[in-house]
């Protein structure tokens, strides 16, 4: 792209999502789709994020709430099992943490530079409810 001249673009500042035909995209996992270099899937916007979510798998009940509520489709779920977060597209909005129903939460927000292993090692304990 770096040396593309004005005469090498398709007209209209129009960008294609896929190389060739879309085909059976509903039946194809994201990582197996032929996204173009210009597709927003190919671009990382990780640097838009100030805080990041960290996922503690041990407490997750695979309710899929975070997957449904994420406005950027950045929760990666396979066979109805939550397996992680797409950190190239997560904007750090915190909605997944807000909707997580487990106790303790399986997702928590941390500063972008926080160390994942260290935070998982000191994950909060289950809160006991007072009657």
């Amino acid at each position: 792209m770096a040396n593309t001249g004005w005469d090498e673009f398709e007209i209209g500042a129009m960008l294609r999502t896929f190389e060739g035909e879309a085909g059976d995209i509903a039946g194809t996992l994201q990582e197996d789709r032929k996204y173009t270099e210009n597709s927003s899937f190919s671009a990382s916007v990780a640097d838009w994020r100030l805080e990041k979510p960290i996922f503690a798998k041990d407490f997750c009940i695979d309710c899929q709430f975070c997957w449904i509520y994420c406005p950027d489709m950045s929760i990666i779920s396979r066979d109805k099992k939550m397996i992680g977060i797409d950190m190239d597209h997560c904007k750090g909005c915190g909605i997944c943490v807000e909707v997580c129903p487990t106790n303790p939460k399986s997702l928590l927000m941390f500063p972008e530079q926080a160390d994942e292993e260290a935070e998982l090692a000191q994950w909060p304990a289950k809160e006991t409810k007072e009657k």
Binding site: W6, D7, F9, A13, M14, L15, R16, T17, E21, A22
Partner: protein, 407 residues
């Protein structure tokens, strides 16, 4: 869904608005998103009635402003339909922001602009202020001088704009009231002949092509914006004029009606020439003939294609002319008029430079009378005889009060 065809007489008595509405019907526009404004209202009203009466298969989208009207047209065009609308004056001004979107996204929308003055003071009559406002927007601009031309140029506009080598939106201008509301004989085409000229709409990168998903309306910053604008300007400068000429030729072959990028009248041996647009061209032609009877070799240049500006065609047409008047029907706001500047630009490097003077006239629908033009041609002949421009370079004509002249 089938639609009915309309039986037309060979010559119908139509005003410019109805002629344009009939052209939209015959082109079978898929979507018209419109917010009507005087004096262009009957164009979209006409399309809506044709649609309601089953003479066209399409959608009429009623919106809340002209900005929304053009936005709706942009969406429909990006989706992959044949799209048109109409506006005037303040409505055109409100559309301006979206005009640049349409041209930058390379969407072949046709906009009928019924030229009207811009407020303040509020005025519904014809001048070219709105037409001039659109001249940097990246749209092709055709100018008609009569209802017949408003009808014909709509077909030509679709033909050129939708060409896949062009893919730029086009405006068809006509003078408010003088053309839009003045009924004249209009030679028609049958529905089948008219549609065969524009042909079926051929989509390109349309959003409804689900096998090839596309993103329209992307953002580019200092990294790529310049390249896209350069491509757009290149295509406007190199690809459009030949396509217009081909469309004019094809249209002449079909109907016998001949259009030219620059319309010459009595130019073969003209010493003095008026260059103007809109209905003034027809008045100037009549006066030029009368001046010839008085021994003044008068000619008229009418600009048919305003954008892309016919830089070389005009210089060629003006070869041998000794004195030229550029008539601008828009207040220039602190500069020479647009036509004066454009003509100066294309004549400056010529070996023989004619005398050029500018006139501002007809604002807010003020008549340009034959008397004005007689005086103007006489003044040009005085310049020829003196070998220099004997007046100031910019004069106002037809305005009450002390003579206004500048530069």
């Amino acid at each position: 869904m089938a639609f009915d065809k309309m039986e037309l007489r060979d010559i119908e008595v139509w005003d410019g608005n109805f002629a344009a509405a009939q052209a939209l019907r015959q082109c079978q526009i898929d979507v018209v998103a419109a917010y009507p404004i005087t004096p262009s209202t009957p164009i979209v009203e006409g399309y809506a009635k044709f649609l309601a009466d089953n003479y066209v298969e399409g959608e009429f989208v009623m919106v809340e402003s002209e900005h929304a009207a053009m936005s709706g047209c942009i969406g429909a065009a990006a989706a992959g339909g044949r799209v048109a609308t109409a506006t005037s004056s303040q409505g055109f001004a409100l559309m301006v922001e979206t005009l640049y979107q349409a041209s930058g996204m390379r969407l072949p929308i046709v906009l009928n602009v019924v030229n009207r003055a811009l407020a303040a003071p509020l005025n519904v009559n014809g001048d070219h202020s709105d037409m001039y406002l659109g001249r940097d927007s990246g749209w092709i601009q055709f100018d008609s001088y009569s209802p017949q031309e408003a009808y014909d140029l709509n077909f030509i506009a679709f033909k050129v704009a939708e060409d896949h080598d062009v893919r730029l939106p086009a405006m068809v201008h006509q003078d408010g009231f003088m053309t839009s509301h003045t009924a004249q004989g209009v030679k028609t085409m049958t529905d089948d002949v008219a549609y065969s000229f524009v042909g079926d709409f051929k989509p390109m990168n349309d959003m409804l092509d689900f096998e090839h998903p596309v993103t329209h309306g992307v953002q580019t910053e200092e990294d790529w914006h310049f390249e896209h604008k350069a491509r757009q300007h290149n295509d406007m400068m190199t690809k459009v004029m030949p396509k217009i000429q081909t469309a004019f030729d094809d249209f002449e072959a079909l109907t016998g009606r001949k259009y030219n990028i620059v319309e010459r009248y009595d130019m073969d041996d003209a010493d003095v020439t008026v260059v103007c647009m809109g209905t003034s061209v027809e008045t100037a032609r009549e006066v030029a003939t009368e001046m010839r009877a008085k021994g003044i070799k008068a000619g008229v240049i009418g600009i048919r294609v305003i954008r892309p500006f016919p830089f070389f065609e005009i210089a060629e047409a003006l070869k041998g002319v000794k004195a030229i008047a550029a008539l601008d029907r828009s207040a220039p706001g602190g500069a020479p008029g647009m036509l004066f500047n454009e003509l100066a630009g294309c004549l400056f490097n010529q070996a023989e430079r004619p005398l050029l003077s500018g006139y501002v006239y007809g604002l807010g629908g003020r008549d340009l009378t034959k008397k004005h033009l007689v005086d103007l041609y006489t003044e040009l002949q005085t310049n020829v005889d003196a070998g220099k421009v004997t007046t100031q370079l910019q004069q106002f004509i037809g305005v009450r009060g002390p003579k206004l002249a500048f530069l």
